[in-house]
Symmetry: C2
Subunit: 155 residues, 2 copies
Amino acid sequence: MTRKTESPSIQVRQIAEECIAVRLRLLTRAVTRLYNRALRPHGLTVSQMNILVAASCLGQARPQDICRVLHLEKSTLSRDVERMRIQGWLKKSSGEDGRTSLIHVTPAGGRLLEKAIPAWREAQQRAKALLGEPGCAVLDRTATALRRGDLRETG
Amino acid sequence: MTRKTESPSIQVRQIAEECIAVRLRLLTRAVTRLYNRALRPHGLTVSQMNILVAASCLGQARPQDICRVLHLEKSTLSRDVERMRIQGWLKKSSGEDGRTSLIHVTPAGGRLLEKAIPAWREAQQRAKALLGEPGCAVLDRTATALRRGDLRETG
DNA sequence: ACCTTTAAATTGTATATACAACTATTGTCC
DNA sequence: GGACAATAGTTGTATATACAATTTAAAGGT
């Protein structure tokens, strides 16, 4: 009896073999797990670490500044920050513009970040091995292009 | 008045400048948005399309098979499949092993996939432009390595 | 045949993510 | 200076994701 499962069209096969999204997302899931497992003992996720680092480097940062450098949607950041504020790692203060607030890292947040550095190094090393030198270079180039706004976000 | 914002340590700066996770996640967010916006008119997300494609290519697939090729956690897939089953794009049938079930694409799911191909092509082209030829090559290589299990999941 | 161990999937809970709708504030133009 | 447009964040809702705990079923040893 011929099985009734339709074999996929050539075009569907093409998606399976070529789709950039599927590969990129797969790779990111794997790498995210790597970092999250390393950071877990510190009670920190890689997303949260990224936000701490960004806020730390920017100094008093407006939410939109962090959104820009991380290509994060404003509502996503809003909730991430709220969780971290509750943890005591971030604080908000009001700036000149009444619509906005300034985010800064608390001393506790700073200490946490420093403490987590060895775990980060470990994950970073494994991720480097996975991607290889050329992979890291490509990633660097592409992320920089994105931050400069090369991908037109047609509102 | 010297500002009290602590400037980040050299090591924190290093994370900002070198962290693979932050760049990869940033890039993936941007690319995911690209595909999701293109696919939206079809009521489909890129995650769901990936699962449809995988199931389509595998034929009668066990959940664990799909998890393996996509590096997805089993509980994640379980919920994704349930949503798609409700939409009528996937169906489950019981196989020989009573613990497992077989997932297959319904005719409606197949039609949806075919219909969405032009949108996929459009997003794919933009993603290609963003990553460049070398970027795509690296991605291909790394994803293949991952699927072969090169990253030790020290469960 | 029964008990224990192993394996596969589901369910509980939490974070991460985005879009749409809403709120509040600022800026502009007459 | 008041109506209106633009801007910044927050909130409502939904998907995606993972870890831990639970359920169900198969395998293995005696």
